[in-house]
Subunit: 400 residues, 2 copies
Amino acid sequence: MADESQKWVLLATARTPTNIAVIKYWGKRDEKLILPVNDSISVTLDPDHLCTTTTVAVSPTFRQDRMWLNGKEISLSGGRFQSCLREIRSRGGDVEDKEKGIKISKEDWGKLHVHIASYNNFPTAAGLASSAAGLACFVFSLAKLMNVNEDQSKLSAIARQGSGSACRSLYGGFVKWIMGKDENGSDSVAVQLADEKHWDDLVIIVAVVSSRQKETSSTSGMRESVETSLLLQHRAKEVVPKRILQMEEAIRNRDFGSFAQLTCADSNQIINLAEKWNRAEGTPQVAYTFDAGPNAVLIARNRKVAGLLLQRLLYYFPPNSDADLNSYIVGDKSILQDAGLGGSKDVEALPPPPEIKDNIPSQKYRGDVSYFICTRPGKGPVYISDESQALLNPETGLPK
Amino acid sequence: MADESQKWVLLATARTPTNIAVIKYWGKRDEKLILPVNDSISVTLDPDHLCTTTTVAVSPTFRQDRMWLNGKEISLSGGRFQSCLREIRSRGGDVEDKEKGIKISKEDWGKLHVHIASYNNFPTAAGLASSAAGLACFVFSLAKLMNVNEDQSKLSAIARQGSGSACRSLYGGFVKWIMGKDENGSDSVAVQLADEKHWDDLVIIVAVVSSRQKETSSTSGMRESVETSLLLQHRAKEVVPKRILQMEEAIRNRDFGSFAQLTCADSNQIINLAEKWNRAEGTPQVAYTFDAGPNAVLIARNRKVAGLLLQRLLYYFPPNSDADLNSYIVGDKSILQDAGLGGSKDVEALPPPPEIKDNIPSQKYRGDVSYFICTRPGKGPVYISDESQALLNPETGLPK
């Protein structure tokens, strides 16, 4: 190994997508190795809209392993990071860069400390599967740095030990995590069922319901949402009081119709919207599922349907009057144009969807959704060779 | 105060219901005092089916405050217990029992240690709102023991500081938790909208989905469910593999109808069931909501409808062949008779509900539900004077 007086820093940067399970995993048969009790299937989301970027570095000058997430230093001592780091280190290969004077043999990896900087292009706290993208990127970028000669499937088994669903973020498109049989987990790996081009007219819309907290959810999550979310304040001040009055009246009159409508509305507006529409059309236009936290994920069969879906979503869940449509619909904003929605005025002018015409007058849920992310099935991890995009300074090995 | 050489133990026992929010609370404006950002409304569940029983005791012989939950000693040091205990102690009144030679003046409460034994008649870990019933019972029984001369509404403000939704368990029937305005929380209290007799034909069915764990739910919850649930094993071995194959085929063929059906099914079978039926009937027969954890709460408009609902629930979610119907439907089992379901054979013979006749062949979800609790709106806390029902030994002050 180059002696410690040397000043070189060796870097690798990668970008990894997140994924949404359409058949979920329901439990673990081994807690430590994260081995599931069933296979699961996911769609990888376009990393242009939702991804983690990670730069990893080694240098003889580093005195300890360190990690920064979104610019803030965090502890690397967690078991999930340590498992992945140990697995990758033990598989490292020889690296030589004569120009920089770097020569590392595979035995050296255990002695060299790493610096890791990671960045999510979406709110970490929003309940989107940031740990899936994060751990996948951690493993993928370290494997690149340490010249690990393993196929993607082997890497997925390592990422799995960091965060179960992370193994599915090693591939683009449609991915299956095979539960496997081995006690050591070597066959509990992800495989690609089809790449992102196979079914590329699907549109995925994530409704980020930042304020939606189950009554029993974590205390800190609630505090954060109250402090940060003007939308929640609006909801608490404008939306709920009306429903409280209606519910009191329904109880007073033993009016089961209103009671049921209000009870269900408080639980599942987005499901109601999707079910009502699918039913009216006769064939499913949109699938829905829920992932980490309360966010709803809607999958439209094609771009045309996605435009119609966005009209419905904006009809039921309009932005606050002072909110910018541009920050309310993020990701692939072209769906807005497809839906004929150029600005807030177009949203206000949206007519009720035809399928509710004969029903109970429609209720609006202004303030229930924080914002929508429009995206699509996307590609798997990529290695970013352009050093200007690295998150660590190539001279110091510290965050830029 | 009686001197410490005396051996008396003074006891009080109470039973307190749990409650299900039909308009939920969405966040806290004050974390420490547990002050919500909106009013909420709940239905109190019949304590015969779901309740907490708590015995509290004081004695000059007790050396420290101690608590047992379901027979196991737990720490009382948590802030939520301490807040409630402090509030009640400071409001204690004089107590005299000449027969037992007990004389306690209100100043003594701060010096006397308490023993508390609490028991839930339902699984604590099942994700049912055990903390609501538990903290309400903690406060209600202590207030009785210490002769606190406050109305139920004041007690609700104390219970609220232990667990927000606990304040609603101080009343039976239909209850509103008023968010209040005062900074000190004195007006953030529960009030009764109507008692349990006001609308007594409602039937409430709780589907305890013990194994249903979101992908990101707590690790320990998952472990418990895997180790304890044979149903989950069945689901993992029999149900999911079929869906995995169907999903792979749907992706291969870009078959959006099947893709949507499988995605939504994995998320929300119970909602689908309810929506489909309500739609077919034209007017809502059943309301649904979700409370702590993944359990679904279904509210049927009357007993007749509840029988029809149970037929549907058992059609879609049959018990495992070797499971006893008697342990699959708990609480008010008379609904089973109403539904004409005397045993497992009747369940197997159930025809598909008429509303799915023209639809895609119906899928069964054997193993998805752990068991169903049939219950109804119920009464508020009661004081149990029969000492034979106390959970602490009146001689020793220790759990029986």
